[in-house]
Symmetry: C2
Subunit: 246 residues, 2 copies
């Protein structure tokens, strides 16, 4: 691939795979994953951040990530980071976007794939022994290290969109939750206020909540009923949605 830079496109492409098969030259692009780990606690949407260990960004917070191993699937790398940090497996994890600006990392070329993860903060014992690791209210997340602010903003926006179209939010709640919990969650994610009666009507009309015939405990007021989400029923019904609107 000596003449890589100056061949015409088709020639170049045709010779690519020949080169690739031999791996004569590696382009030196490092690949990493970054996990944007969301949690819901104290009626607020939180994100898990770690203090940057680069002097350039000392004092700043950054996302949790690591390089991808040569023989590791991308998703597996994201799961690995997640498990290392939270001790959790079997959590919601979704690829969001890949960030590959040449100078995004001060140490050299690193392309990173961002993953959004939603975890239930009750279900885990975080390794927050490490006092460099903290939950942050998403409303106060600013000025992250690297291009992590941009990555975070992208993930939060995608979460806001997707939570309205898919039952992602339940990953952030305990298995049993009240409708108030659910509404608080949506209000925290979307950063808006919703009408309580219409919110209930909406969810009841979807007919995807299972009434557990149990009540909240230890609340300082009239307890609400508890529900769980009917994932099975949701899995069966495929909604093919058509509605042009922009």
């Amino acid at each position: 691939m000596a003449s890589r830079e100056n061949k015409n496109g088709i020639q170049q492409l045709k010779s690519r795979q020949v080169t690739l098969s031999g791996f004569e030259k590696n382009y030196g692009i490092e690949l990493s994953v970054d996990c944007i780990i969301f949690g819901f606690d104290e009626e607020k949407l939180k994100v898990l951040l770690i203090r940057s260990d680069l002097t350039k960004y000392s004092g700043k917070w950054s996302l949790l990530g690591d390089l991808v191993f040569p023989s590791e699937d991308l998703d597996a790398a994201a799961y690995r980071v997640l498990k290392q940090r939270t001790g959790l497996s079997d959590v919601y994890l979704e690829q969001v976007s890949t960030f590959g600006t040449v100078s995004r990392h001060p140490a050299g070329r690193v392309v990173t794939v961002a993953y959004c993860s939603l975890i239930n903060v009750q279900h885990h014992k975080l390794n927050i022994l490490d006092n460099e690791l903290h939950w942050h209210d998403v409303k106060s997340v600013t000025d992250l290290a690297f291009d992590h602010q941009q990555i975070f903003d992208t993930c939060l926006m995608q979460l806001q969109k997707r939570v309205q179209e898919h039952p992602l939010g339940f990953n952030l709640l305990p298995k049993k939750f009240s409708l108030r919990d659910l509404q608080n969650l949506y209000e925290a994610i979307l950063n808006i206020k919703l009408d309580r009666r219409n919110f209930r009507k909406k969810f009841f009309s979807m007919d995807l909540l299972i009434d557990l015939d149990e009540m909240e405990q230890d609340v300082p007021h009239r307890p609400g009923k508890l529900y769980k989400f009917n994932f099975e029923k949701y899995g069966k019904k495929k909604k093919s949605w058509v509605g042009i609107d922009f």
Copy 2:
């Protein structure tokens, strides 16, 4: 990074960036981009494919892609591929997803970032001199090389979703188009039939089409009026859409 594989997570992460800064070792993951180039012609949604040059996949069609250069932004690499193939710049291009299964490429580890591109087939003189490069009706795209079928399916689904929420479709049409053109486009992308009157009502009520006071030419029937899309007006109005439904 001698002990990379057996350190605990936090230690490992802390040592990562030290290693990175020196680039002592490259993990040997190649990075590529693949462009899913859509066009609209003969009232059909088309995708541009090239014959695979790998013997393993001989006879099969594949997407257009190339390795990313070490000092090239990801988006720039996608633009480069696109320009080489179509001669077009200033076209719609959007990152869709990244595919990184270890064994997705027979020649070794290659992670690829998929980009969706929408081009106006009138506006370009394709280098289809190369008879290995062809437009294919998306309905008949099956059994692509590598994992390209999966990538293609992902991109088509994303296009179907996004075209309903954003004015992407106009990138596939000439600047001047009739409402029938527009409806044909949506029907081709979504693979459904739409009611003509409701379709018109919908678009007129958005008030984003500019009536050009011109008529179609050379049609073998009553000509329709021509419109263009009001990108400027669309850019100004930000719709913050809330509607939980799944």
